[in-house]
């Protein structure tokens, strides 16, 4: 019985996938019931899987299994680590469940505050260490003479490219600066003319970057469309 079910699982799964694909692709002609049903199924499946994964991966294996092992084997080696790294977090995790009820919601705020503080510090340090310093250095090193090519024709191209990258990076950052000097009363504040021109140049670089991004997104979605067409054809050819 189980083997038969296993044998049938594949074609049944293919048919389900086929139908769900058509239900979602029906959005091309407009929003409809089939599309919304497919999306509801997707949310339910994804949420259920995430919940099971958390229960398995974190609650069971990181919280419950170590304490069971300690009690069953009697080995207390892992107890200090568990008591420091895991147990307080479990208490805080249960404390955070108070956020579910409106009446007790504000009592769960300290846990969120802790999460926010730790997260902010992590992201801040990562931005400084991982992006600001290396990327600024990279922009400067574009015109590092030590990395320059030896051939003359290449040097010109290298220099021009480095200059474009340096100017593009700077003007892109300038574009997002909207501060202006205060003028006389009644006169609206305006940026200086030089900054205006530089920000216009930055606007051009941003337009190019966004164009490349848009093309990349479209290529990704085109690949998905090709994958679905192939799947549909494979399913049809499988049964017919």
């Amino acid at each position: 019985m189980l083997a038969q079910i296993n044998q049938l699982a594949d074609p049944i799964g293919a048919i389900i996938g086929f139908l769900l694909t058509l239900m979602v692709l029906s959005y091309i002609i407009g929003d409809n019931v089939l599309f919304r049903l497919a999306v509801s199924i997707f949310i339910g499946v994804a949420s259920g899987y995430a919940a099971v994964l958390i229960l398995y991966n974190v609650i069971w294996y990181q919280v419950l299994v170590p304490i069971f092992q300690i009690f069953t084997t009697g080995k207390l080696e892992g107890l200090p680590t568990y008591a420091i790294h895991v147990f307080p977090a479990v208490i805080l995790g249960f404390w955070m469940i108070t956020k579910l009820t409106p009446r007790l919601s504000r009592w769960g705020t300290p846990v969120l505050a802790f999460l926010t503080g730790v997260g902010a510090a992590t992201v801040l340090a990562g931005a400084v260490r991982g992006t600001i310093f290396p990327q600024v250095g990279a922009s400067v090193n574009m015109l590092n003479i030590q990395t320059a090519p030896t051939e003359l024709g290449n040097i010109v191209g290298w220099f021009i490219n480095g200059l474009i990258v340096l100017i593009g990076t700077a003007t892109t950052l300038i574009y997002f600066q909207f501060g202006a000097r205060r003028q006389e009363e009644g006169v609206p504040a305006r940026r200086s003319v030089v900054l205006d021109y530089l920000s216009t140049a930055g606007q051009g670089f941003i337009a190019v970057t966004l164009g490349v991004l848009f093309a990349g997104v479209y290529l990704a979605t085109l690949s998905a469309l090709i994958d679905r067409v192939q799947f549909l054809w494979d399913t049809i050819s499988r049964f017919f």
Binding site: I12, G13, G17, F18, L20, I28, L37, S40, I41, I43, G44, V45, G48, Y49, A50, A51, I54, V86, L92, G93, M96, I97, R106, P110, V111, L112, A113, F114, T116, G117, V118, A120, A121, T122, L124, A127, V128, R129, I132, Q135, A138, I164, V165, G168, T169, A170, T172, G204, I206, V208, T209, L210, G211, V212, F214, T221, L222, L225, R228, F231
Partner: protein, 207 residues
């Protein structure tokens, strides 16, 4: 209590954040405490995800009781959620039945959603010039066309070396300049926001 609780929340956020931050600068002294706090945060984040799923169930449970056509979607959502929990719970996150549900339900729907997006993006690109275009709109469109032309050989026309070279130059020079500027801007904004949270000015957690 109304005044004590917000101050306590701010103190907790600031102290915990500063310990983690200074752990980078004083690894010998604070790396242990930093590691402990990070461990707590990871487990609490897992609980937060569970709380989110539970909240989703509660919201849609309430919707099933209301009249209207929208309740059927909530019913379908809850049915698929509970079936997945039962099957994946019994089979395990990497069990065969779990993978069967994953490969035949989640993957087709997600890929199809992205495929529909291709039609929408192409429609938007075709109508980009329907309104009075500015110079950067035209530059944007030209860039899109150049990248598309250079990303794959044109059917029956083959691959064009100059166009490929142009696409490579576009992605390596001006696009990198703009992207680097964007990344630096995002990073600077992240630093500013992080500092504001760590000194207690911003309190996104409420209170």
């Amino acid at each position: 209590m109304k005044r004590i609780l917000p101050i306590t929340n701010a103190v907790i956020a600031v102290v915990s954040g500063l310990i983690v931050l200074f752990g980078y600068f004083f690894p010998g002294l604070l790396s242990g405490i930093q590691s402990v706090l990070i461990s707590w945060a990871i487990i609490i984040a897992a609980f937060a995800l569970l709380v989110g799923v539970f909240n989703l169930v509660m919201v849609h449970w309430k919707k099933t009781g209301t009249e209207g056509s929208n309740s059927i979607y909530s019913i379908v959502l809850l049915i698929s959620l509970f079936i997945t929990i039962i099957v994946a719970g019994l089979s395990g996150p990497t069990g065969s039945w779990t993978l069967w549900i994953f490969n035949n339900f989640q993957v087709p729907i997600e890929v199809s959603l992205l495929a529909v997006l291709a039609i929408v993006l192409l429609y938007a690109g075709a109508r980009l010039l329907s309104r009075k275009p500015k110079w950067y709109t035209i530059l944007f469109l030209i860039t899109v066309l150049l990248v598309l032309v250079g990303s794959a050989p044109l059917f029956l026309a083959g691959e064009s070396a100059p166009l490929s070279a142009l696409r490579i130059w576009l992605s390596q020079v001006p696009a990198i300049a703009g992207a680097r500027g964007l990344l630096l801007g995002v990073a600077l904004g992240t630093v500013a926001t992080g500092i504001r949270i760590l000194i207690g000015i911003d309190r996104p957690y409420g209170g």
